[in-house]
Every structure is written in structure tokens, then in C-alpha cells.
Amino acid sequence: MGFFDDKQDWLAEVFAQYPEDRRRSALMPLLRRVQQEEGYVSFERMKEIAEIVGTTATEVAGVMSFYSYYQGLPTGKYHIQVCRTLSCKLAGSDELWKTLVERLGILPGEVSEDGRFSLQAVECLGSCHTGPVIQINDEHYIERVTKERLQALLDGLSEDKPLEEVRRTLPGEEETGKHVIELVKGGES
């Protein structure tokens, strides 16, 4: 059965947003729906999307591979994305990455044995002042990650506590986790 077979109403809603002869424009929302529900976009799904929007699997693959958001291989329940761009790197993201790989025993493209974790190194997440930063699924960032905070995070998730609760109760979250730059009038910080 196709992924979109029982989502015809939703499809109609999406296509209504674009001109009739530009069905290809709906490529991204369709990809996103599959990614969110299945954790990755399989080749079968690419072909299905291509068929629905009237293009080729090649173009779907081209769009998909451009964005690091879309996964071509299955991911775990918690897909951990580690920023490795300059600021985070200076703040120790290499060490963070190494710790994660060792602790979870997986490499990018793999899923941990319990099905919980998968790993990905990504480019700048846009929170350079609170590096190193990781993102789990589509949720809030985990900022200023230290060994201690990482340990607590993984422990919490291994016990299947809700992600938001785990994030809020990380050690030192009150002091370091919510660093806000207050803008004064005139744009000077």
C-alpha cells in the first residue's frame, strides 16, 4: 500500500496551494510528511512521490539529498544531529561526536540496537553562541552540551522519558541552557 493512499484529503489540501500545472511544487511538503512519519524516505516512497507530483524519482532524490533534514536510511526514535561548524567545533563538538559514537556504538546511517538512537553530523544550526549544540528530531536544541549534560540526556532518553522533560531537567539547565542575548534599544547588545 502506498503511504499517501489514505491521505487523499491532505494531498488535495497541499495541492490546492499551488497552480494546477505546478504540481512539482508540492515535492517538499510530501517529503516532509514521509520523513516525519516514517523517520526516513525510502526509495519506494521517492517513486510514489514522483508519481503523485508528476516528476521522476531522480528529481525527488535530487531535492531530497540537497537537504540534510531528509534521511535516505532508517533512523532511530531519537535522531541526534550534532553541529560541526566552526563555533561548535571550537567549543568541542569533535569531542562530543567522539563521545557519542563511542557511547552509542553507531556511525551515521546506523541505528543503535535498541532502536532508539541514530547519529548525524550537520552544518551550522544557527546557535553559535551556545555551542556545542545538538538537535534531536525536530525539537528544541540542547545547548552548551558537556559530558555531564550529555550523559544525563542519553540516560533520560534511554528510560523513555519525554524529550522536553529530559531537556528541562539537564544539569545546569537553569544557568546555562537558557542563555538569552538581551537587545537594548538601537540594536546594541
Partner: protein, 798 residues
């Protein structure tokens, strides 16, 4: 028209022209990698950077002046990619200053940063845009110097990126991902020209590579990407490693693979054809040719007949021309002259047709025919040109343009995308035509497509339908009735609404083009209805015959008359009808290749030149005269058909007045006032008056439909084509096949009146029930023949 100043020259160009074309129009040069004629400009390589500026008008509507009273030029703050910059009135472009040259040489350096330096083993070497530009910009001391002032080749010290170096995209094309400079020409080509987006950029940034998620490159036009690749990343696997660019003898000629007469370059080396490339003809094939025209030449040096052969004691033995003449004289003795038949190949030239017609007339013989002849003469229809397709308000196809006349597929898609005929500038076709856009959806309302099986162009058609083989006349009859305002009879398999829609669009259109395939041309009733439809409505027709020179031969009078089968035969065709071979007692073959048919039936074989080796003239599907020119191919004692006809006449004891192409051309000039030696550069339209009556083909009837195919049986002799095509596909509706006890995937040996053929059975539930479809691979597309299926193992024979 805007006036543009390029360096020191001022030129006028049409509005909407790109700065790049203004520069070339003015006679200056600008380096480029990604812009390409007929493709949308994207500005992705940034190689064509120039300094540009325009004057501005003040609130008073006057040009703003500077302090000295001159019109002030407002320069763009940065250098601009000239391919995506449209010209404006008074624009000033600078391509020569140090600032521009420095930026351009920087781009060359950047492009080379990851490009391997394997030019000595790269097939593109010597004809490579990047190599030329590297030579031009590299080592310019002014820009590149080391710490002590010595010139350096590059300032980059990183190691180069290493990726997949030999990645086959299909059996015909191989991709070297290290050499790729990401210009996107091939990606744009597939999307914009044949209309299959089968290539795309995968990943991004430095990881980007060209790839596909579909199976192979399905288009009939995949080879063109090897021509337009500006580096050696995409290479033709037939020609790979067969010679360096400067070693080839390049002959401008015309392809005889189909009736369009695509312009080609034949690259030969040491007497062997190594490569065929597209040659630009803006009125015919732009810069594109079909895969059959490009890759289908491998058979030329296989099993070549290089001397005359005479049958002695059961086997064909090499002989001298004198011995062959003597054998012919002996064999033809006692055969009445009017019972001597002449069978020409479909790509025989006008000159050869003229000689054959003269001989047939002298002999009083009625059997004068050519291979791939349709039942109704193609000349009966008012011919459209491909350019007419761009003007058409409605295009109706009955047949399969993609296979029968591949070039028309490209022109139809151009029309549906709204592409206009580009202006001709001093340097020819605009290189960066800003009116062409990526991803323009085809306008489906302009096309109606009907055929006995689902075709590629149906995907772009609003009105479409699959009718049963043999029902073309019913379909045309229904359209005729609808146009006359009557109720149309039902056509099995075709939606009545679609027919009504097609008729309505047809009626409303001012300019109409009708494309007719073998299905119509071989059905006398259908063809007459089509002729009536075209003539009564002032529509133009592209009659897609399999013979390359059908119109030229018809114009020369090569057409059968009378019903007597010949007792002696001069056959210059690949696959003469079996009946003919069985009835003729004495058979002379003019053949380039010792095929099974020749081996079995010939009494005398005379070595023939292939169409790559001939001088001659063709009249293509648009009634355009095109010149074939001989490439340098080693072919022993091979002779042209004119010389052979002369010799054959001599053996019959009659005199032929034409012995040389030159003489035939002189005769042609005398008769039609056209000098074939001096045709216009892109061919010349000639509309001869021809009146011939229809001649139905023999042996119709049966439920195997020979589907037109671009590939011909001779192409299968080539290793690469054979690998690409694999086993032929016999397609049928699942119910039909299962009723015959044939299951999907079974390899079946088919016995047909045209010979034995192995094929793999595939199901296709869109096909009409009760029929089997097999690629025709030759001169009998559209034929309906009986067959016997033998299943070797694991299945039932019927």
C-alpha cells in the same frame, strides 16, 4: 533594438538578448562552461564574468549625465555573469580589462581546483572547453606568482577530491565524476529537450554529483549529453578510447537512420568510423541527433564484403569484377527483360534512384521497389517542416513519433514548452537564450496523440487514445465525421470524449500539423482519409516513413507497377521479402555485409558502399534536399549503387546512360533547375510533383504487430547496442498472453514470415487485448503478421 557597447564596438541586438550573446555578436569572446544553445541559461559556472553598466534616466526622462556632460554609466557593483544578464539600451560591457581577466582566471583556477589533470588519457582532450580556457588563462604571470615572483599554475595546495571515476550511466554513456564541473548542461538537457528528467544533482556543495534514481537513460536522445559536456565527464562508450580528437578525419554528412536526415559529423580514423557527433542545423536538428544516428554505426566494419563474390558449387567465392559480370550475364540469360526486378534500400540516394528508374524503364520492368516503402506514397501528403511544428496551434499524431521520427519528438516538446525560433546572430544561434526557462510545463492542449499502443508523446497530450491495430481508418473516419458535424461511430478502445476534444481543437486551430505513422501509411483507406483531412483543412503533414529517402525515390519514380513477380533480381536491400527471394531464380545482391539472407540466397554479391561512404542527395520528411558526403572508410572494392546498376545493365545487354553521381546530378539540374552540388547550407526545400497510386503490402493478417522502433536489425550487430537493448521485448495484455499459455518473463522464439526472433514476454495492461507487440527492427513497421511461439523450457508451446 537596444544598442550595446562591447569594449570599443557598438552593436544592436534584439531586446531580451543576453549580454553574452551581445559580446559574441560584436565579435568578442567570453569564456563559458554552463551556457549552451537551446538550453535555459542558469549562470551556474560563473565563468562568463564581465564588467557591465547601464545609463539611467532622471526624473525628467533625460539620461543622467556626469560632470563632464557625458552620459553617466552606472556600473553594477560587482562583475556580472553575462549569460543571465539581459541587455538594455546603452549598456556598456567590458571584457578586456585586467579586473575582468583576473576574475575570469580566478574562476578557471577554481574550476580546476578539483579537476583531475588526466588530459593525456581523456577522450575530450583537444576538444575540451576547460582545456582551452586553462591554456588561455593558466600561468598568466600577472595574476599567479609564487613567493619569489615565479609563475605558478595554481595557488591551491589541497589534495584533489576523489570520487567515482568510471560510472556507467547506461550502456552508451559513462560518467567520470571527478572530471565533472557541475555546469548542469546534461541535467537541463534531459529536462528541456527530450522531456525526461532522468539526471539530477545529488547531494550538495563539494559532495555534489550527477546521478539518477531511474533505470538507465531511457530517452532515445541520451547521446547528446556527450556532445554538450564541456569537459570529458560524459563520454560516448562506443567511441571511448578509439582515437584522439585531432586524429579523426571529420566528414560533414547526414544520417540515414530515419527520414529526418539529421546533420552529423562522421569521425573516421585509419579507414574506420570511430565516432558520430551531431552537426548543427538550426532548421532541422539544432544540435541534437537520435541515439540510433549516433551509436548505430558499429555494424559498418563487421562481415564487410570487400570484393565481388560468385556462387561456385554451393558457396560464395571471391571473384574479380570481370568474373562477376560474366556470372551475371550467364545467370540473366534467358530471363525476359520485363521480368527483371530492382529492389533498392530505403536510403538509396536520389542519384541512385534516378539510375534505377532509368534502367527499369529501359527494361520495361514493373518491379522497381525500395525497402521501407509505405503502401501509400509519402509524397501524397503536403509536407510540413519541423519549423512548422513551432508555429502550429494543434498537433495531431497518429503513430509513435518518438520511435518513427525521433527528431519530431524533440520539436513537439519544443512547441509544447512554447519555445520560439531563436534569432540568428553573427555567431549563429544565441548561446544563452533568456527566453528559454527551466521546468516549463508542456501545454497539453496543443497535442492529440493516438496510436495502437501507449506512446511516449501521449504523456504530453490532452486528447489521447489507444486503438486496436488496423483500426486507424475507423479512427480517422470518426474524426472526419466529427469535423463534418455528424455523430462519430465508436472506435474500440478510444474514449469518445478524447476524440471529440481532438476534433474540436483541430477545428479551432489556424495552423495544424498532422504526424502519420506506419499504422496509417500502410493502410490505404486510412491514408486516404488522412490525406482528405489534411488537404481539406489546409494542414501540413509529416509522413514518418522508415525509409530515409522515401520522398526522393518516389520523386524519381521508384515505385512498383504491374503485378508480375520478377524472375531475376538486383537486390540492394537488407531484408528482401521472403516471397520475392523464393520466386526469383537468379539473385544479384549489392550488399555491404554478408548477412544470413545474402549467404543463403545470393548468386552474385557485389560489394556495396554504406550510406556513410556515399556521395549523394536525400529528400527528407520535410521535402528538404540534404547532401550525403563520403567519409574515409576502408571498404575494399565497394562501389556505389549507380556503378552497380550500370554493370547490371551491361550484363543484361542494355545501356545505362548514368555511370557517375556527377552525371545524375547534371541530369537533375537539367530537369528540375536545382544544382545538387551547391545546396544551401542547411538543406533546401524542394517540392516535386509526384503522382503515384497506392500499392498495399503483401502478407498482412495475424495478431503479431510489428511496432515501429528507432533501432534497426543492423544496429543489433554492434556490441554496445546489443548490450543496451538486450533481448527484445514481446509485449501483450496479460489476459491475451495467458490465454495463449505464455507467462511473463518467458523467453520465446517467434517464427514469423520475416524470420525467427527470440524475445522475452512482458505484460502491459494498457495494450489492446488480442495482440502481441514486437519491435519491428526494420522496414516493416506497422505490419500485422501471423506467428508461432516456441517456448524452450518451463512453458507451453502453442
Amino acid at each position: 533594438m537596444p544598442k550595446v557597447k562591447v569594449n570599443d564596438r557598438t552593436v544592436e541586438v534584439p531586446p531580451g538578448t543576453s549580454a553574452m550573446d551581445a559580446i559574441f555578436h560584436a565579435g568578442y569572446d567570453v569564456p563559458l562552461f554552463c551556457a549552451e544553445r537551446h538550453l535555459s541559461p542558469t549562470g551556474s559556472c560563473r565563468m562568463c564574468l564581465v564588467k557591465a553598466g547601464s545609463p539611467r534616466k532622471g526624473p525628467d526622462g533625460e539620461w543622467i549625465k556626469d560632470e563632464s556632460g557625458e552620459i553617466k554609466i552606472f556600473w553594477f557593483p560587482k562583475l556580472m555573469a553575462s549569460c543571465t544578464l539581459a541587455v538594455s539600451e546603452g549598456m556598456v560591457i567590458d571584457t578586456l580589462s585586467d579586473e575582468v581577466r583576473h576574475a575570469q582566471s580566478g574562476m578557471v583556477e577554481l574550476t580546476l581546483a578539483n579537476h583531475p589533470l588526466d588530459c593525456p588519457t581523456c577522450d575530450k582532450g583537444g576538444a575540451c572547453d576547460l582545456q582551452d580556457r586553462a591554456y588561455e588563462y593558466g600561468l598568466e604571470q600577472k595574476f599567479y606568482t609564487g613567493p619569489t615572483g615565479e609563475p605558478v599554475y595554481t595557488r591551491y595546495e589541497f589534495s584533489k577530491r576523489h570520487v567515482d571515476k568510471h560510472h556507467p550511466l547506461s550502456e552508451f554513456i559513462i560518467l567520470d565524476r571527478e572530471r565533472c564541473i557541475h555546469c548542469k548542461r546534461c541535467v537541463r538537457y534531459f529536462e528541456e529537450i527530450p522531456g525526461d528528467q532522468v539526471l539530477d544533482f545529488i547531494e550538495r556543495a563539494v559532495h555534489t554529483f550527477i546521478g539518477t534514481a531511474d533505470e538507465g537513460l531511457p530517452s532515445n536522445f541520451s547521446g547528446n549529453i556527450t556532445d554538450i559536456c564541456p569537459v570529458g565527464a560524459l563520454l560516448d562508450r562506443v567511441a571511448r578510447f578509439r582515437g584522439r580528437n585531432w586524429e579523426f578525419e571529420q566528414t560533414p554528412s547526414v544520417s540515414t537512420e530515419d527520414a529526418s536526415g539529421q546533420y552529423v559529423w562522421i569521425d573516421a580514423r585509419s579507414g574506420r568510423i570511430e565516432r558520430i557527433r551531431a552537426r548543427e542545423n538550426p532548421e532541422l536538428n539544432d544540435i541534437w541527433i537520435s541515439d540510433a544516428a549516433r551509436f548505430g554505426h558499429e555494424w559498418v566494419d563487421q562481415d564487410r564484403v570487400t570484393t565481388p563474390l560468385v556462387r561456385k558449387g554451393g558457396s560464395l567465392e571471391p571473384a574479380s569484377w570481370e568474373e562477376a559480370l560474366a556470372a551475371m550475364q550467364k545467370g540473366l540469360e534467358g530471363v525476359p527483360q520485363e521480368r527483371v526486378g530492382l529492389l533498392l534500400p530505403g536510403d538509396a540516394t536520389i542519384e541512385e534512384g534516378m539510375a534505377a528508374a532509368e534502367l527499369a524503364k529501359t527494361l520495361g520492368s514493373g518491379y522497381l521497389d525500395f525497402e521501407g516503402r509505405s503502401a501509400v506514397p509519402a509524397s501524397n501528403f503536403p509536407a510540413a517542416t519541423f519549423a512548422d511544428l513551432l508555429e502550429a496551434d494543434y498537433i495531431l499524431t497518429i503513430g509513435d513519433p518518438t520511435e518513427e521520427l525521433p527528431l519530431s519528438h524533440v520539436w513537439i516538446y519544443k512547441r509544447l514548452r512554447g519555445v520560439k525560433t531563436p534569432p540568428r546572430l553573427n555567431h549563429g544561434t544565441p548561446i544563452a537564450d533568456l527566453s528559454i526557462r527551466e521546468h516549463t510545463p508542456p501545454d497539453r492542449s496543443l497535442l492529440g496523440a493516438f496510436a495502437p499502443y501507449p506512446t511516449r508523446v501521449m504523456e504530453w497530450a490532452e486528447a489521447k487514445g489507444v486503438f486496436e491495430p488496423g483500426q486507424a481508418s475507423a479512427l480517422l473516419g470518426a474524426i472526419d465525421a466529427l469535423l463534418a458535424g455528424r455523430d462519430a461511430p465508436r472506435v474500440a478502445g478510444v474514449d469518445a470524449g478524447a476524440l471529440k476534444q481532438a476534433a474540436q481543437r483541430w477545428r479551432k486551430a489556424k495552423k495544424r500539423v498532422l504526424l502519420l505513422g506506419a499504422e496509417v501509411l500502410n493502410d490505404v483507406e486510412a491514408a486516404q482519409l488522412a490525406e482528405k483531412l489534411a488537404k481539406s483543412q489546409g494542414a501540413l503533414v509529416l509522413a514518418m516513413t522508415p525509409a530515409a529517402n522515401a520522398r526522393g525515390l518516389e520523386a524519381m519514380g521508384v515505385w512498383p507497377s504491374g503485378d508480375k513477380m520478377p524472375r531475376a533480381l538486383l537486390a540492394a536491400a537488407d531484408n528482401p521479402p521472403q516471397l520475392l527471394l523464393d520466386l526469383a531464380e537468379f539473385k544479384v545482391f549489392h550488399a555491404a555485409r554478408l548477412s544470413e539472407v545474402v549467404r543463403q540466397h545470393a548468386d552474385v554479391v557485389l560489394p556495396a558502399k554504406t550510406s556513410y561512404e556515399k556521395l549523394g542527395t536525400l529528400l527528407n520528411v520535410e521535402n528538404r534536399l540534404l547532401e550525403l558526403r563520403p567519409a574515409h572508410v576502408e571498404a575494399g572494392e565497394a562501389e556505389g549503387l549507380i556503378q552497380v546498376i550500370y554493370l547490371f545493365a551491361q550484363a543484361l545487354g542494355v545501356k545505362s546512360s548514368l555511370r557517375l553521381v556527377r552525371q545524375a546530378r547534371a541530369r537533375f539540374t537539367e530537369r528540375y533547375k536545382i544544382n545538387l552540388d551547391k545546396l544551401e547550407e542547411f538543406g533546401q526545400v524542394w517540392r516535386p510533383r509526384v503522382s503515384l497510386s497506392p500499392r498495399p503490402r503483401q502478407g498482412e493478417g495475424g495478431n503479431l504487430y510489428l511496432r515501429p522502433s528507432m533501432w534497426k536489425s543492423r544496429h543489433l550487430l554492434g556490441e554496445t547496442v546489443q548490450r543496451a537493448l538486450g533481448t527484445l521485448t514481446l509485449a501483450a495484455h496479460p489476459q491475451t498472453a495467458l490465454a495463449e499459455g505464455l507467462d511473463v518473463g518467458a523467453t520465446i522464439t517467434l517464427q514469423t514470415p520475416w524470420g525467427t526472433q527470440a524475445a522475452r514476454l512482458e505484460f502491459d495492461d494498457e495494450l489492446p487485448k488480442g495482440w502481441f507487440f514486437l519491435p519491428a527492427l526494420g522496414s516493416n513497421p506497422g505490419a500485422r503478421v501471423p506467428f508461432k511461439a516456441l517456448v524452450p523450457e518451463g512453458g507451453e508451446a502453442r
